[in-house]
Symmetry: D2
Subunit: 308 residues, 4 copies
């Protein structure tokens, strides 16, 4: 399918003049020092063909994109009881808002805002040590991407640990409502580490392929989750994957996706392909500005949309 | 496709024992006096086949389902500038919340919460009299459903006008921020009347068919909106169509849809079919309890979902 | 007490260079067109001596200062049951906020924010026509000030009626919770009219004298309210009299007081005197900027404070 | 003044049948295990006479009452710049609410809610170690009460440290906005320790006497703060001293006061006396239920009120 390579190349070319737009996350040095003009895109079709352009094989900090993987793990361990601990509604608020938590007694709205992902880390811990839980997460992502080289950047995790006051606030707040079962430090240890996963666009697209293919990795043949669960994770990404920019993303792109403040976005065209884009500059909702545009162009040119 | 008729009949049969569950809207007598055990379902495939069961040809008050039609009209008149007046994000709040309006200076989050639909009524007015605007809306819905018998129930409109204090509050609040351009009474006149449209499941499914078929009514051949706009209206229904139960509906049903407090839900399986269900008892988010279940069963049994 | 005249003259003189500071309320023409350099002050001691300076005998729109009079009337009619309809806590919010109303089901925090004063208007109506209730309020204020010339400015009332969308929003919102017993138009008719009372500083100080003298007008000898009720109205003015600037006013001035967007402030030094000041420019909380300063200077120079 | 002893005895007698009402704070064992029927009251007039009844010489955990002392210390160190870090408005919210902090970027509304007192602890630290700051606070309270036996209960401090998740949330949240200058652990170390001060009603009344006497301890003759500052601390206690029950306390009691979840309330009748009461059962705002009643009776029978 040479067309898809042409489309990917075209997107890369058309976005060149705009690279550098947006605001790079600067709350830790490791994110602040990334070259704002980096741009990568990888598309992998469900039959295993890979189309890529730009810095698609440069690792970056996937940050909140990792929340899709920990949610999948938590659902595997706890099934539908996961939803006793976290809702599945868009929050209507910023990614790190604490207001909703006070009004709803410490139960986060969904697993993709910070508070919700912290609750999911608590579920992934499930009585294990943080080290064990982190190990399990890494193994799971390597398995999804079929790539043993994927690793956590320890300096990113350490920086988050040292300055992540807002996340300490969220975790302690939930703890005060009895909504965490492990010590705050353990839960945040897991959370900060999975956010510090470093991956390339190509690795990320690989790891999302099971969501584009009904829950089964079409390359390895391994079933990761049931077809129903794959659909439901896609639904959550569509309604909640971009914080208070989720409606906008659904409107413009029309594909389930999850963004991170490192500038990555992982998206899924069910039955067709998985996609990962990366560009560090963020828009006012904290989602990659150029990355969102790239996905909008891709959706427009391929006609991929869950809405027709 | 006899299967589909069997599925529809099966849903009707399986839900019989549960009819009457939920809480019928009781803020006006016209809604309160509806038989809580009514249940109708109509599915129309894009090739025009109709499958129905139960009270699918009994008219009911479509209430907020009508917001999809007025949004479509407003987009036709004002194009993308519509979004200067109303956002397209899930609100994270109840259908009639005013809190978000205060924090965001009178601009509603999306066109499907009450405040947003009132802003859309203002846009549909566009300098005309309320009578003219209401006439235009009726003609549009009749055109979509290809059915000249569709009408507004004047007693419902009158009751809402007499007791709709919350909507008067929302409209006056927006007016205080300069966000309405017509008199509050005119805007609410339009709003209360389009909410008072009485339609059957079959009429409603007919009128939604263009959204299942890329913007064109496949039965008449008329193009209603562009393919892109159809996709985008579907996206809005998926992220915002069920108030603060939208995430739940996407998770369980996986189809774009819009509910009303009359107990109706209109849903779209893009490329496949449009659906309307009706059952008056509501869940705690104000969406039809049995209607939501019926759609969940339909999606499960047909495999229709935008997410795979 | 020639000292007091000297103090009053001194305040007048010292504030001359600052007259015109602040932002004159401009939401209706009648307020917007007031000369921003007007300044008046009248102090009346409990033994009946009057000390005044500047434009102390020029009538101005007392606006929310009138809420003290309607609260006093409502307490006279309904006693402590008044508090079933309105709280007595500072709101922590702006004078016209609707957020708290949504969270607390339509019961306003206190009688001095707009919503609370609207609830009080409903209580003053008590089955009468708006005209009768307005007549009763005028008679009451004339009786307090012992001055038959006090009147409502009908053009102000009419303007508020035509443009007071926010107040229509508040009233309809409360109505939607069943918290008003008369038609919204009647309640707001009373509310807009009492806010449109035009009074001079001297008239206003006269009318507040009963609150400085244990509930009895020391000039006429008439008991207006019990000693306990006078204390309690003073307490409400101190904690809630200046919206979300009430703490600031207590900190700086240390006297119970009530402000209005017309630039007036009525204050009480219990056992000593009543005071009224007027200067149209408002601070960011909607209280008279120069008027607040004048009262701070008066308190500092006389040593009047409830806090020592 | 034998009358005052009779009044105090009468209050003690009349409240006997109600002792045990309210809900004892139970979030740490040290508070939960206090006998709910304890009741003490001490009144000290500005001329040094002491009137007391009940358990007035039994030490209890003063908790938030201590915030008055740390505020006084912070004002001594930082003067009016203290108000750059904390406001002086009633919050309209519960003592431990975090919502306002999010809306106002980490600046607490006043020094008497938890967040505000934590900011004050940061100011008291002023570059010192927590141990030094805690030592300074103890010395200051001993000086105020002229009693070297006053001490902190280390088991209370330790329990709060181990379970005070909500306060950890508040502190980390403020830290995330750059509103704390010392490490969260240090700031909370100071905060938890000053809240763990154990004092008797008599000691507490002694330590508040300077606020009743224009800033000077009338027994020792030491000036603690200027007259103006004493007035202003009283103003803050009146508007903010009882969380979202402050308006109620002003209405019913009419005296500046500060409550703590240990069941203590310290109050001031300017120019007349200081008072401390203690009864562990709390009302729904977290203030001593019987203690509030005792002060209401005292105010009614002595005629003490700042409002007449």
């Amino acid at each position: 399918m040479e067309d898809l390579q042409a489309i990917v190349d075209g997107i890369h070319a058309k976005l060149q003049p705009r690279l550098g737009e947006g605001k790079v996350a600067d709350y830790i040095p490791q994110l602040a020092h990334v070259d704002p003009k980096k741009f990568g895109i990888t598309v992998i079709t469900v039959d295993g063909k890979v189309f890529k352009a730009g810095d698609s094989d440069t690792p970056f900090s996937i940050q909140s994109v990792s929340k899709v993987f920990t949610l999948t793990l938590a659902l595997g361990k706890h099934g539908e009881t996961t939803w006793n601990r976290v809702g599945r509604e868009p929050s209507g608020s910023a990614f790190n808002s604490i207001v909703q938590l006070e009004h709803e007694e410490g139960k986060p709205r969904n697993p993709f805002i910070n508070a919700g992902a912290i609750a999911i880390s608590d579920l992934v811990l499930a009585g294990h040590t943080p080290r064990e839980a982190i190990g399990e997460i890494i193994r799971f992502v390597r398995y999804l991407a079929d790539d043993e080289s994927i690793a956590i950047d320890p300096s990113v995790a350490k920086s988050e640990q040292a300055t992540g006051y807002r996340n300490f606030a969220l975790a302690n707040f939930m703890r005060s409502f009895g909504k965490l079962t492990h010590p705050v430090e353990h839960v945040l240890g897991v959370y900060f580490h999975h956010c510090a996963l470093a991956m390339t666009c190509t690795q990320l697209a690989h790891s999302a392929l099971f969501l584009a293919a009904g829950g089964r990795n079409p390359l390895t043949g391994h079933r990761v989750v049931s077809e129903q669960r794959a659909r439901r994770i896609n639904a959550l990404m569509l309604t909640c994957g971009h914080y208070d920019g989720s409606g906008e993303f659904a409107y413009r792109v029309g594909l389930p996706g999850k963004s991170g403040v490192g500038g990555g976005i992982m998206a899924v065209a069910p039955g067709k392909a998985s996609v990962a884009v990366w560009s560090p500059g963020l828009n006012h909702n904290g989602n990659s500005l150029i990355g969102s545009l790239a996905l909008e162009m891709l959706a427009a040119e391929t006609g991929w949309s869950v809405f027709d």
